[in-house]
């Protein structure tokens, strides 16, 4: 058996139509590319994090991988099969193998269903109700550390952390191999964030899951992800092993994101990379390197030519004038 990764995404593109006929006639662009040619792969049992600010396309990318969003181009290979041209009925068995968690812990649970019905739903959808549904619900509640009587609660009676646990339980109900988690800690207090990340880490180890995490929170990435990618305007600007990127980011945007995280230490002296300008609109992508409008290190070349992806060690980035070239070189030499 070949060691093909669990998930391989290549040159994936997602487009949204904008405006109506009028906009088209008046010469405005009629579509934007929210995901503009993204490639990565995820090995079994590993965690990959997509990082980016709002509007970077990370959620759209996750939904495209999950088939909730139609991709305009590229390929999604999962367990050795190409998902891009799958029909709705082809997708159904895939959904047992790949589940998704959504941002809002409470809002992603159907408001009028009890926790019991919510947890039994995956079995009902896939015609597995023959199994003792109640026993399965109890098993799942135990798995995520919730008391049995939570089965009779409704989503609005749960705290954010509890609702998130129910979401995790539902995601692992059918023994998937991949979980896509969109901002698993959004809206949760720090004391609860840890609980959720611990739970995800545990389940990954116990069930041999792979995780695809979407987040804007770099601390979360560091605590959970083996490798990561930084998205800007629908493209990856840097991708690699998490520890390597935290130690020595190559792309100025990655460095800016890392430096933009205020640390809870009043004596810390900050060496910030400030990004004063606004994020450009997807309707008017900048020329050359798309980050040059905000990059503090931009030179003439950056506005003219788009940089090609460069590899240093395990990291891949797109920048004409990368930071930390020496560390990068050292890594490359070591590898």
């Amino acid at each position: 058996m070949t060691s093909e990764p669990l998930l391989t995404v290549s040159d994936l593109r997602v487009q949204f139509r904008m405006g109506g006929i009028m906009a088209g006639l008046s010469g405005q662009p009629t579509s934007i590319e929210a995901v503009a040619g993204v490639s990565f792969s995820l090995e079994r049992g590993r965690t990959f994090a997509l990082v980016g600010e709002s509007g970077s396309g990370k959620t759209t990318l996750a939904r495209a991988v999950n088939g909730l969003q139609v991709a305009a181009g590229g390929s999604i290979r999962f367990e050795g099969r190409e998902l891009r041209d799958f029909s709705k009925s082809d997708w159904k068995p895939v959904r047992r193998r790949m589940s998704m968690m959504f941002q809002d812990p409470v809002g992603s649970l159907s408001p009028r269903l009890s926790v019991r019905s919510i947890l039994a739903e995956p079995f009902a959808i896939h015609g597995l109700s023959g199994k003792d549904a109640n026993a399965e619900v109890m098993r799942l509640l135990a798995l995520v550390g919730l008391p049995r009587d939570f089965a009779d609660r409704y989503p609005h009676q749960l705290s954010g952390g509890q609702a998130r646990r129910v979401g995790v339980a539902r995601a692992v109900a059918l023994d998937p191999v991949l979980i896509i988690a969109d901002e698993p800690t959004a809206g949760l207090d720090v004391s609860v964030q840890g609980e959720v990340l611990n739970l995800l880490n545990d389940l990954r180890d116990r069930m041999g899951l792979s995780l695809l995490i979407i987040t804007h929170n770099l601390h979360v990435v560091r605590q959970i992800a083996d490798s990561m990618a930084v998205m800007y305007l629908g493209r990856f600007v840097e991708e690699g092993e998490t520890e390597a990127i935290f130690a020595a980011p190559h792309h100025p945007y990655t460095a800016a994101l890392l430096s933009a995280n205020p640390e809870p230490d009043p004596d810390k002296v900050h060496n910030r990379i400030a990004l004063p300008a606004e994020v450009p609109s997807l309707l008017a992508r900048p020329s050359g390197c798309e980050f040059h409008t905000r990059c503090p290190f931009a030179q003439d070349k950056c506005a003219a030519d788009a940089p090609l992806p460069a590899r240093v060690g395990a990291s891949l980035f797109t920048c004409h004038f990368p930071l930390n070239p020496e560390t990068g070189a050292a890594l490359a030499g070591a590898g």
Binding site: E53, S54, S159, G160, D189, V190, S191, V192, Q193, G194, E195, L197, N198, N201, H216, L218, H219, V220, R222, Q223, E243, A256, L257, S259, A260, N261, P262, E263, P264, D265, P266, D267, K268, H270, R272, A274, L275, P276, E278, V279
Partner: protein, 328 residues
């Protein structure tokens, strides 16, 4: 000299299931020209505290004890509507969390900035000139043109800058900032924090800065208070609290912040348990149910124990607390 001095403040909300004590004996001092942070998790009473200070409590809320002394000794807790209104906007300005909703959607930015200068007695043109100058200070590009625009034509970060410009336009002595950066991306968050710091020094006002983000508090604030379930469990200088926290809750909260971990941890620290029901507060310490060093004495109300000058923790066991870490 202090700008704001909150003493023994308690606030109740009437609910269908009885009175809910949202704030209990809150103590807070904002000295002149200083930035004071308020930190706490959801349900800790941060928003109620601001609303009480601004006199904007919901109809079912009321101040049941305490005083909110402002500057020369006006008690905001017992000020009538007109006197309170005279302070708001002029002496006490506010920046709210939600930049999308904070501006009136059907009035131009210029009109709204003009309206808040109604006490100045300036002509329309003079008001606009001041608005432009203020927008320039918060680094809105092309401010003359942008006065005529409506809020939906600005990005979230710009709207928050406009909100700050409006708040500081009348050079208030106290700026209350209620999670002003929570809705923004990290790169915008730091620019707003730096802007606030810079303008605070320029104008020389005091700031009460509310946030759940420990890093932001550490970076911006001189002093801070930590709130839990409507009580101030610890207060002191930011350095005191981050380096020498003496309340078990503060210690656990600090330990939970993944930003404090420089390396990947096998297990992240957490605080097991949940907030107490504020309608049925426990007797004594509000944190005892989740505290591993709690003992019999904790079922009586703990004192505000002084650790060092200006550093106070509401706990019976401030020395033992040094051993407390969050549960991993």
């Amino acid at each position: 000299m202090t700008v704001l001095d909150v003493r023994d403040l308690s606030v109740d909300f009437a609910t269908e299931d009885g009175a809910l004590q949202a704030l209990k004996k809150v103590e807070l001092t904002v000295p002149k020209n200083r930035i004071v942070g308020v930190v706490g998790e959801s349900g800790c009473g941060k928003s109620t505290l601001i609303n009480a200070i601004l006199g904007l409590l919901a109809d079912n809320g009321s101040v049941t004890s305490g005083r909110i002394l402002f500057e020369e000794g006006q008690d905001l807790a017992h000020l009538d509507g007109a006197a309170m209104r005279a302070l708001r906007g002029r002496k006490i300005a506010t920046v709210f969390q939600d930049p999308m909703g904070a501006l009136n959607p059907v009035l131009s930015v210029g009109r709204q900035m003009r309206d808040i200068q109604y006490r100045s007695g300036l002509s329309r043109r003079e008001k606009d000139t001041r608005s432009v100058a203020m927008l320039r200070k918060v680094r809105i590009p092309d401010p003359e043109k942008r006065l005529a625009q409506f809020p939906h034509e600005f990005s979230g970060g710009m709207k928050q800058r406009i909100a700050i410009a409006m708040a500081l336009m009348m050079e208030p002595s106290l700026l209350i900032a209620d999670e002003p950066t929570t809705a923004l991306d990290a790169t915008l968050e730091v620019t707003i924090i730096e802007l606030l710091k810079e303008l605070q020094q320029q104008i020389g006002c005091s700031v009460l800065f509310i946030s759940h983000h420990l890093g932001v508090i550490a970076e911006l604030c001189d002093e801070m208070i930590v709130m839990y379930a409507g009580e101030v469990v610890e207060r002191g200088t930011t350095r005191d609290i981050f380096h020498n926290a003496r309340h078990p809750y503060t210690r656990k909260l600090l330990a939970c912040d993944p930003a404090r971990l420089s390396h990947r941890a096998a297990r992240l620290p957490t605080i097991p348990g949940t907030l107490p029901d504020l309608r049925r507060r426990p007797a004594g310490c509000v944190f005892q149910a989740r505290c591993e060093i709690a003992d019999g004495v904790c079922s009586t109300m703990p004192p505000d124990a002084v650790v060092t000058e200006g550093h106070v923790a509401r706990c019976w066991h401030t020395s033992e607390a040094l051993a407390v870490e969050a549960t991993a």
